[in-house]
């Protein structure tokens, strides 16, 4: 049974597929050929993949030859961190698990109270651990708080210290303009389903001359950097989504207005409610906000009953709700961190929906306070 459509405010977990993308994917599913086959069915699939490659490359301002398609952001991050022959790996403390787990021995660089990586600490850490060809991994925007990291500055520091820089741009892509050259990133991760494309497709953009050893071995696909028959339909959808994302950047101001509306509404209700990273530059669609005295999990359930989908912590944790390591790294206490939820907006959200969210937030907050008072 199809559940009743709710208000979806969990775009950082996954974004609904755009109608154009769905149509392109449906069309591509009919493209039967294996892109490695030389006959016309194969060539048609190869062309579709190559067109998408150009579109994805254009989203981050690089040549198509830099793009390695993967099964998603997680694989791309794993490929970057395990595929580059680096001496030492340094990561920020707020990276996604797919970075942290892929480099379990990495040096973790602290972030400040606003959730921004400490560049002086990075520099010092590189000076101490750098040595021969270190690899720094720093995300462009955090998945929980939306805080934008100073990647270009970090890349300059890394390069000065002879290190390479990998940037997980999964949450930033389609929300802010990305120029991989201007960022100075040597490797950059993208995911299709965070920007309106289908799940199951992602990419690692690799600067010319940076050697990446394949994690999946077999056929010579993706210039020997990623074996396996290409997910043609997924890649085609990724390409269409990348084009749409580029065009959609202009509408980010509207989404920022909605987000600001929500934050203003919450501050009016509860001035002491923490909004994490609000002092820093953030992507427009994300707010991470604590409701004093109410566990995040409780909030998520209450919102769900009210027909609003939000999340506590990251969705990837497979149901295990652990206190957010990101908020912890920003200096939030365990109990405060446990009271935070993430609201992430997308193209489809309306001012009406934002108002309803704030109203539900107030209802829940007032009810809890009444219960406590009683």
């Amino acid at each position: 049974m199809t559940p009743q459509r709710a208000i979806y405010l969990d775009h950082n977990a996954t974004a609904p597929v755009l109608p154009d993308v769905a149509a392109a994917v449906a069309g591509a599913l009919e493209l039967g050929g294996n892109p490695s086959s030389v006959h016309r069915f194969g060539r048609a699939s190869r062309q579709a993949v190559d067109r998408a490659r150009a579109a994805v490359a254009a989203l981050v301002g690089v040549p198509g030859t830099w793009v390695v398609f993967t099964s998603g952001g997680t694989e791309a991050n794993n490929l970057a961190l395990t595929g580059v022959a680096a001496g030492r790996v340094l990561v920020s403390a707020i990276e996604h698990d797919s970075v942290l787990r892929a480099a379990p021995d990495a040096v973790r660089v602290a972030v400040d109270r606003n959730g921004v990586v400490d560049l002086a600490a990075l520099d010092a850490s590189l000076a101490q651990h750098g040595g021969d060809r270190a690899l720094v991994s720093l995300m462009l925007a955090n998945n929980e708080t939306g805080v934008i990291q100073p990647v270009a500055e970090a890349a300059a520091i890394a390069h000065r210290r002879g290190a390479l820089l990998h940037c997980d741009a999964v949450q930033a892509a389609g929300r802010i303009a990305i120029d991989m050259g201007a960022l100075g990133a040597d490797l950059l991760t993208l995911s299709a389903h965070k920007l309106g494309g289908p799940t199951g497709a992602g990419a690692l953009a690799v600067r010319d001359g940076v050697q990446v050893t394949a994690m999946l071995r077999g056929g010579g696909q993706e210039s020997w950097r990623r074996a396996g028959t290409e997910n043609v339909a997924g890649i085609v959808g990724f390409g269409v989504a990348a084009e749409a994302a580029q065009q959609g950047l202009a509408r980010m101001a509207d989404i920022a207005a909605l987000r600001d509306e929500i934050e203003r509404g919450i501050r009016d209700i509860a001035p002491q409610a923490p909004i994490y990273g609000s002092a820093a530059r953030r992507i427009a669609n994300t707010t991470c906000v604590g409701m004093p005295g109410v566990k995040g999990e409780t909030q998520v359930m209450a919102f769900d009953l009210a027909g609003i989908a939000v999340s506590a912590g990251a969705a990837c944790s497979s149901g295990k709700v652990a206190p957010s390591a990101v908020l912890g790294a920003m200096g939030a206490g365990a109990s405060a961190a446990a009271e935070a939820i993430r609201v992430s907006l997308g193209r489809g959200n309306t001012a009406e929906e934002a108002k309803r969210f704030v109203a539900e937030w107030k209802t829940l907050y007032d009810r809890t306070r009444r219960l406590k008072a009683a």
Binding site: N34, H96, D97, A227
Partner: protein, 420 residues
């Protein structure tokens, strides 16, 4: 499948003339079955949730769909759904099975056994493991493509952690004796992995009866989508492995990354259709294949079948058309989509290592074509294909200096070739 605006499915309802081009490359990939596409489409649009979002209805809906798909995949191989994890495809499944098991048990055992005719991704994973210090035995095959079980028995040592033998070969379609191999491995306490990308949905497989511990599945080889596969990881005896892709800890920690709900649904639907129709489909394909092979043999001399005919996928033929180079032949039959060598390597001009492993001479290996019949192949397609191949082979033999020599009774092997 669309080429020149024609879908393969439409052909079934069309008139007697086959729609061109004719797709006869079902071992490279299969078109997505329209029923599979139909099952998937809602999950691209209104049901778009992340299956790992456990706290709202979008997530639950996606999770339900993924779990139904997991059951469908488990069912076709006789497994429990808890034993199935989703991957991005058979290449990843094979990489994960081999590297994952080898690395997990590396303190106790350091030896793996495989076969020379395995898919490239198995062989390349093995080479990767050799670079890491593991020992690997590559067993030869007999002339018919089958593994000699005595050789296998002899290759297993106390240090052997895993034996990997593919269920059905991608080039020659030869089906290995899985149950016997499973028996040997179980008796010696060695894990048995099989790359069943070509076999699942084509021939019956039962992981319990065949004593298979790990099994790789591909979506796009069974009329499902590309970009999805599965790995069966047995629980009795329990197989443990080290993840290749780490992160969110999805798939019980064995494979991180957001599950692509529509693709999982597609794989599940493809398995469900295949399980239901496999018996009738296999019979139909065997009939088509035999019809093709019989006509070719009647009308052309010097055509050789590579690999055993009996122990073979119903939809596969691999033929050497002596004295005619395979790629040149493919150009002459451009309304037929077939392959010379395997798709993954057809950009390189090396003769097939699989055929070489069978002892097929290099000159004959260069004359081979893989012809794959599948769900949307019709009798008309087969007859048309025969006509075209026969006339192209005859024409190219008239052009072939080797054919001329053979007719003059000159032994090609007696000539000092220059090579280049």
């Amino acid at each position: 499948m669309v080429a020149n605006g024609t879908t393969a499915a439409e052909k079934l309802n069309g008139d007697n003339r086959p729609k061109l081009p004719i797709y006869l490359d079902y071992q490279a990939t299969t078109p997505c079955d329209p029923r599979v596409v139909e099952a998937m489409l809602p999950y691209f649009t209104e049901k778009f949730g992340n299956p790992h979002s456990r706290n709202h209805v979008y997530g639950w809906e996606a999770e339900d769909a993924v779990e139904t798909a997991r059951k469908q995949v488990a069912s076709i191989i006789g497994a429990d759904e808890k034993e199935v994890i989703f991957t991005s495809g058979a290449t990843e499944s094979n990489n994960l099975a081999l590297k994952g098991v080898a690395r997990f048990y590396k303190d106790k055992k350091n030896h793996l056994v495989t076969v020379a005719t395995e898919h490239k991704c198995v062989l390349d994973s093995m080479r990767h493991l050799e670079e890491e210090g593991f020992k690997v035995t590559y067993l030869p095959v007999r002339k018919d493509g089958l593994l000699d079980l005595e050789l296998l028995k002899g290759a297993i040592t106390d240090k052997t952690v895993l034996v990997s033998v593919m269920a059905a070969n991608n080039e020659i379609g030869v089906v290995q004796p899985l149950a016997e191999i499973g028996e040997i491995c179980r008796a010696r306490g060695v894990f048995f992995h099989t790359d069943a990308a070509q076999a699942v949905g084509k021939i019956p497989i039962d992981v319990k009866k065949m004593k298979i511990d790990l099994l790789s599945i591909s979506g796009h080889k069974i009329y499902g989508p590309k970009g999805i596969g599965a790995l069966y990881v047995g629980r009795k005896p329990r197989v443990r492995l080290q993840a290749l892709i780490t992160g969110g800890g999805q798939e019980r920690g064995m494979r991180s990354g957001t599950l692509p709900t529509p693709l999982c649904v597609g794989l599940g639907a493809a398995c469900a259709v295949a399980e239901k129709e496999m018996g009738a489909e296999a019979e139909r394909l065997r009939m088509l294949r035999d019809r093709f092979y019989r006509q070719i043999k009647e009308r052309l001399p010097d055509v050789y079948l590579n690999g055993d005919l009996e122990h073979r996928l119903p939809g596969n033929l691999n033929l050497s058309f002596a004295y005619v180079e395979g790629e040149g032949l493919m150009m002459g039959i451009k309304d037929l989509c077939v392959s010379s060598g395997s798709a993954c390597t057809s950009a390189s001009l090396e003769p097939s290592y699989v055929l070489r492993a069978l002892g097929v001479e290099e000159d004959l290996a260069h004359t081979s074509l893989r012809i794959g019949f599948g769900r949307f192949t019709t009798e008309q397609d087969v007859d048309y294909a025969v006509e075209h191949i026969v006339s192209a082979v005859k024409r190219l033999r008239e052009l072939s200096p080797l054919w001329e020599m053979a007719q003059e009774g000159i032994d090609i092997k007696s000539i000092q070739w220059t090579g280049h």
